[in-house]
Subunit: 200 residues, 2 copies
């Protein structure tokens, strides 16, 4: 049977990863999304195994020790991470899974899971981003410099990715990501892998 | 400006390259198709630069000598080949161009144009192909053996391609090829190439 794909969707903060993911969920309800583990308390309406895998601090630390996370980080006193097991189970069942994650997290995932498909959401125009930062008029020259170098650093990280998808319009970005998934399934090496497994 | 892509669509004889190409033309009228040069005489209704570039034997031989063909072959006394110029012009203008060609021709093209996107149309099932060849009941054991080894050889050539598209249904195959084109335009290295050219 053909294995599923892990699609890592990332990009600089503010590029619209969450919005694009929400739109993808609507367009392709059959796509599975990676569920994070966290030590933060569930909010009203949140269910374990749906919104998050809710863990105690001790459980989470054990997951770290046992190498059960693709990546993890601490954020305002709570741990957040991506459990390997859910990703592997999904892929092994032949289904694709999407992981929406910041650029730092994506790089950590790549170390453990280089065979995933890495998609970088790009702001519509780097020039525009530059203009926006410079043109706000509310920031000091130092701040502008810092933000520009941050943006430059984030764009630099693009080199670790397989695909660059410009988020000019949400529907355009979704269509492109959907096509990337289809095309990746057609990659010759995957086809040959599957045929070899089937013994043909 | 972003360059166009050369998409080489190939596969074993009988897989349905022509049918898929004709369907693609209908679905995507904006796609440009490579026009072959030939020394065969125009048939009624055929126009130079539309169906073929019609050449004399001398002109064709000069094209061979001047390295103006991506590939060429002789077939029942006539030359057929793919002029480089038309392909390059199209790509440089930012448009994609599709070249439908047999597996032998595609390999020759790859030598001169490795940066093209190589798509291999695969019969719905290799098992089925096997059954079909064995099940015809009209062929000698030697013929069956020969056909099976031919099919095996053709499938072996798949390793030179970027993508394998199973031609189970024409519409499926077309959708996949369309997605491959979209995804290839999103390839990170192309994006960075273009940004570098734009000086961003």
């Amino acid at each position: 049977m053909e294995k599923g794909l892990l699609i890592v969707l990332s990009g600089p903060s503010g590029v619209g990863k969450g919005t694009v993911c929400a739109a993808l969920r609507k367009r392709k309800p059959e796509l599975i999304y990676s569920i994070s583990a966290t030590t933060r308390k569930p909010r009203q309406g949140e269910a374990d195994g749906v919104n998050y895998f809710f863990k105690t601090k001790e459980e989470f630390q054990k997951m770290i020790q046992n190498n059960e996370l693709l990546e993890w980080a601490e954020y305002v006193g709570n741990y957040y991470g991506t459990p390997i097991e859910f990703v592997k189970k999904t892929i092994d069942s032949g289904e694709d899974i999407i992981l929406e994650i910041d650029v730092q997290g994506a790089l950590k995932v790549k170390e453990k899971f280089p065979e995933a498909v890495y998609v970088f959401l790009v702001p519509p125009s780097i020039d525009e981003l530059k203009n926006r930062i410079e043109g706000r008029g509310t920031e000091t020259a130092d701040n502008i410099k810092h933000r520009l170098s941050m943006a430059q650093e984030e764009i630099e990280l693009l080199k670790h990715y397989d695909y660059a998808v410009v988020n000019d319009k949400i529907d355009n970005a979704c269509s492109k990501i959907e096509c990337i998934i289809v095309a990746e399934h057609c990659k010759r090496f995957r086809f040959i892998e599957n045929k070899t497994k089937e013994g043909v």
